[in-house]
Symmetry: C2
DNA sequence: AATCGTTATGCGACTAAGTCGCAATAAGAA
DNA sequence: TTCTTATTGCGACTTAGTCGCATAACGATT
């Protein structure tokens, strides 16, 4: 998981404030969970963790907040190749998109930043005249340790 | 949707036979639906269509068959950026992977084959020593007609 | 500080996707 | 035809996510 050390805690809160979006207790709890996460979390994990901060947080508030953050382009939604069922995972959007590689044997998730990926997106924007808002590249296979 | 004219109907059946996998009525119905599809179908659409061929086909058989085909690397599973809820879509795997671009305004799905995408996969295989079995690149944004 | 329009929340009931165990059935090799 | 093994339909279940609604809380304004 990307957790750049340069990242200011409370950044998501600030970004929402800048956009004139109301801040609330449950929202703060959920944002802090996402900001301090060290691995990819799904909605129910986010709910559980948020409740340790604010016990009243409800499941639907988690979903609504995730929708808000997605719409604002502040988080990305991942499947991680459905390694563990159908749930979705979330992570903060950083400046540079990265590729997720999921090992189908050991379950390890590897992230990878690639210039080629950036060129590919430019190619799509140009050749297809498509305006990209989200790009998600997920790969499933065997990691270096698990391939033989 | 890719429906190459060179494609032999019954190809999936043959591939399964080659691998010594048992052929059954329901399975045949489901395969034919997938083979003759002209757009991306989800599990319940596949079920509905398969039932016009063999009325007894059950939902769980559809899911089990889709799992089988996924495991055999004969179909790909797509989200299409969750344009219409959480369902998954399926398509036959062809020789060349392609990118799916989903327009978030009009819902159009555009497919794109790219050399750069192939290089990117090679890069992952090489630099990360990752053995790729599935690669899924989905893009959400605005298509040429909907961007302004 | 008190007011007030608007937005967000918790609750609970609901939908829809997908899973699973099991007894019955059908494939296909012998 | 027989027999083993894989597959099926059924039905009950789980789990992710949605929605309407009455209540609560934000935060701008006075």
């Amino acid at each position: 998981m990307p957790l750049p050390q340069t990242e200011i805690p409370g950044r998501l809160q600030m970004q929402l404030a800048e956009r004139g979006i109301r801040m609330t207790g449950p929202r703060r709890a959920i944002l802090s969970v996402i900001e301090t996460a060290t691995k990819h979390l799904d909605a129910s994990q986010i709910l559980r963790k948020a409740r340790t901060v604010d016990a009243s947080v409800d499941r639907s508030t988690v979903y609504r907040t995730l929708d808000l953050l997605k719409r604002q382009g502040m988080i990305d939604e991942l499947d991680l190749m459905h390694l563990n069922g159908e749930r979705h995972y979330y992570e903060r959007k950083t400046g540079h998109d990265h590729i997720h590689m999921a090992c189908l044997r050991c379950g390890k998730i590897t992230e990878f930043v690639s210039k080629t990926f950036e060129s590919l997106k430019k190619q799509l924007e140009g050749e297809c005249r498509f305006h990209i808002l989200v790009a998600r590249l997920e790969v499933g296979g065997y990691c270096s340790a698990c391939r033989r």
